[in-house]
């Protein structure tokens, strides 16, 4: 659990940390789009170089990064194996019952593996260098145009930001409740599926009760502090477009063009 870094944030002052969240988010989407454009070794190599450069610039040690995404690699390998065994077409190399492996499915499997890996890497760079709240703000900025359609962008952003603010609190509570129940003889994380479901009850009920309490008291406190509705408020926290954003966009666009040129 401790090594699992997907979704975690590591504070820092690297050039990647300083970019505005909205542009990091959009670059992420853009990157994922180019991943699907890539279709040969050369184009994937270009993307791999870009992502490795991003990791180095973020100041996060490569070893830590790899250790952190390792648990997810098993998930990808599983998906890839499904793809390899169950896809059809190409020259069949091996088969047994409903399983068959062809040259084409192997190549496709390899590409899927690389795609998955690249997507996980870019999103991990995003979350490691961007505070969860900044991501929420990024989403809000990106969705702003929808306000004209009376879409409650600000309400959504405030909800998201409060939810994120309570993640550490609830995590702490979860650990304490688990420890308390362990001390009362509960054995989490082992035994049959039925046992595991059964032991989730003494964890989940207190956790939900706690969360509801937080929510109730928090809404009272917010009301007392003059909160009425979230669409008519000013905003203190703003992220401005940085020089690093402009540079990053130029690089990403260049990479997009290169990928387009080297693909089959």
């Amino acid at each position: 659990m401790d090594n699992f870094i997907f979704g975690r944030y590591l504070p820092g002052h690297s050039i990647i940390h300083q970019m505005s969240p909205q542009s990091k988010l959009l670059l992420c989407f853009y990157f994922v789009a180019i991943i699907f454009l890539a279709n040969n070794v050369a184009s994937y190599a270009v993307l791999a170089v870009l992502i490795i450069a991003a990791i180095i610039l973020s100041g996060i040690s490569i070893g830590f990064f790899i250790r952190g995404i390792r648990p997810l690699i098993w998930l990808i390998i599983f998906t890839v194996l499904l793809q390899v065994f169950f896809s059809s077409g190409g020259k069949v190399l091996w088969h047994w019952g409903p399983f068959s492996v062809s040259d084409l499915s192997l190549i496709n499997g390899g590409y899927i593996f690389v795609r998955f890996l690249l997507i996980i890497m870019i999103s991990t760079v995003l979350t490691l260098t961007t505070a969860p709240l900044a991501i929420a703000d990024g989403v809000q900025t990106i969705l702003r145009p929808l306000k004209k359609l009376h879409f409650p962008v600000d309400t959504l952003a405030l909800m998201l930001s409060i939810a994120l603010r309570f993640v550490p609190t609830l995590m702490d509570e979860m650990i304490t409740i688990m420890n308390a129940q362990r001390s009362r003889g509960v054995d989490f994380g082992s035994g049959s599926l039925k046992h595991r479901i059964k032991v989730a009850v003494p964890l989940l009920i207190p956790l939900f009760t706690g969360a509801i309490n937080h929510a109730e008291e928090l809404s009272t406190a917010m009301e007392a502090r003059g909160f009425t509705d979230s669409e008519s408020r000013t905003k203190y926290r703003v992220y401005n477009w940085q020089l690093s954003d402009t540079i990053a966009w130029l690089i990403f666009i260049a990479v997009g063009i290169i990928v387009f040129l080297v693909r089959k």
Binding site: D2, N179, A180, S183, G185
Partner: protein, 289 residues
């Protein structure tokens, strides 16, 4: 029986192999004898919680070993076969009412004994005894815990730990957030468990008045290390050190300091109201006599 608790060269590193790793415990050596009453003090983040969670192997040392009676816990200890240890070491966490999850009081208190293999009838008997101990009338047994007051819920939670019949009881600020009456009730219960039932008590607290009133020995922690260990008298003897560690003095000692500053001589450092009264009377008597 429980036997003694012993920490030998215990180190604990939190988030090992991650950029935000930090050492939460540094070279802890500590022996707590059977039946003793120990208070652990130190400001937030000093390592108190990490220390106590080693005693029932919720946390395993990164190096060194912890022994509880015959039970030895090292970094190699797995989560298997921990039950006998955890049954023997009762743990009351801060705001323990948060662990309550069953729909009735009695069921929640029976939860621990049932997990440790008691029969339904045994667990019920243990739960009723525990309710008795903490002073919850039996008519509460079929009530929903959410209908109880904060102080009563806390007692249900503590009963849930006592029902397992532990020989060591660890309490992390058991009176936090209670009103004065609730506070007094819980501390009286802890004292009774120690005095009458011989349970080894380890109390984590910020309340220095409770420390001097109940504890036989005090362990002071700071930055993951034990900085001082001794009787309450030893701990509060060196005023400069107490201030430097940002500890508060017991109310009587603080009052005595003010009294001295105002020019009333007091040769000793009284830690309780009785000590202070006697010290004042002695001084007045000596002057009058």
């Amino acid at each position: 029986m429980a036997g003694q608790i012993k920490f030998q060269n215990v180190n604990y590193v939190y988030h090992e192999d991650s950029p935000d790793a930090h050492q939460a415990l540094k070279d802890i050596n500590l022996t707590l004898t059977e039946g003793s009453f120990t208070a652990i003090i130190g400001h937030t983040g000093s390592g108190k919680s990490t220390l106590i969670q080693h005693i029932n192997a919720l946390i395993k040392p990164t190096s060194g070993e912890v022994s509880v009676g015959d039970y030895v816990i090292t970094h190699k200890t797995t989560n298997k076969n921990l039950r006998p240890l955890r049954q023997k070491v009762g743990m009351v966490f801060q705001f323990p009412e948060k662990q309550i999850f069953e729909e009735t009081v009695i069921k929640d208190i029976m939860f621990g004994p049932l997990n440790y293999g008691a029969t339904e009838a045994e667990a019920k008997q243990a739960a009723l005894n525990a309710m008795d101990l903490v002073g919850l009338p039996q008519q509460y047994q079929d009530q929903s815990p959410i209908d109880l007051s904060g102080g009563q819920m806390r007692r249900v939670a503590i009963a849930g730990v006592l029902a397992m019949n532990p020989s060591i009881l660890i309490l992390d600020e058991p009176t936090a957030g209670l009103d004065p009456r609730g506070h007094a009730d819980i501390m009286a219960l802890v004292a009774r468990l120690h005095d009458e039932m011989g349970i080894t008590i380890i109390l984590v607290t910020h309340q220095m008045d409770d420390v001097v009133q109940y504890a036989e020995q005090v362990v002071v922690m700071s930055h993951g290390e034990i900085t001082k260990q001794g009787s309450p008298q030893d701990i509060f003897a060196d005023l400069k050190w107490v201030r430097q560690m940002q500890l508060t003095l017991p109310t009587s000692a603080e009052f005595a300091e003010q009294l001295k500053l105002a020019g009333f001589p007091l040769p000793s450092r009284p830690l309780t109201l009785t000590d202070l009264t006697n010290a004042i009377l002695t001084e007045l008597g000596a002057n009058h006599g």
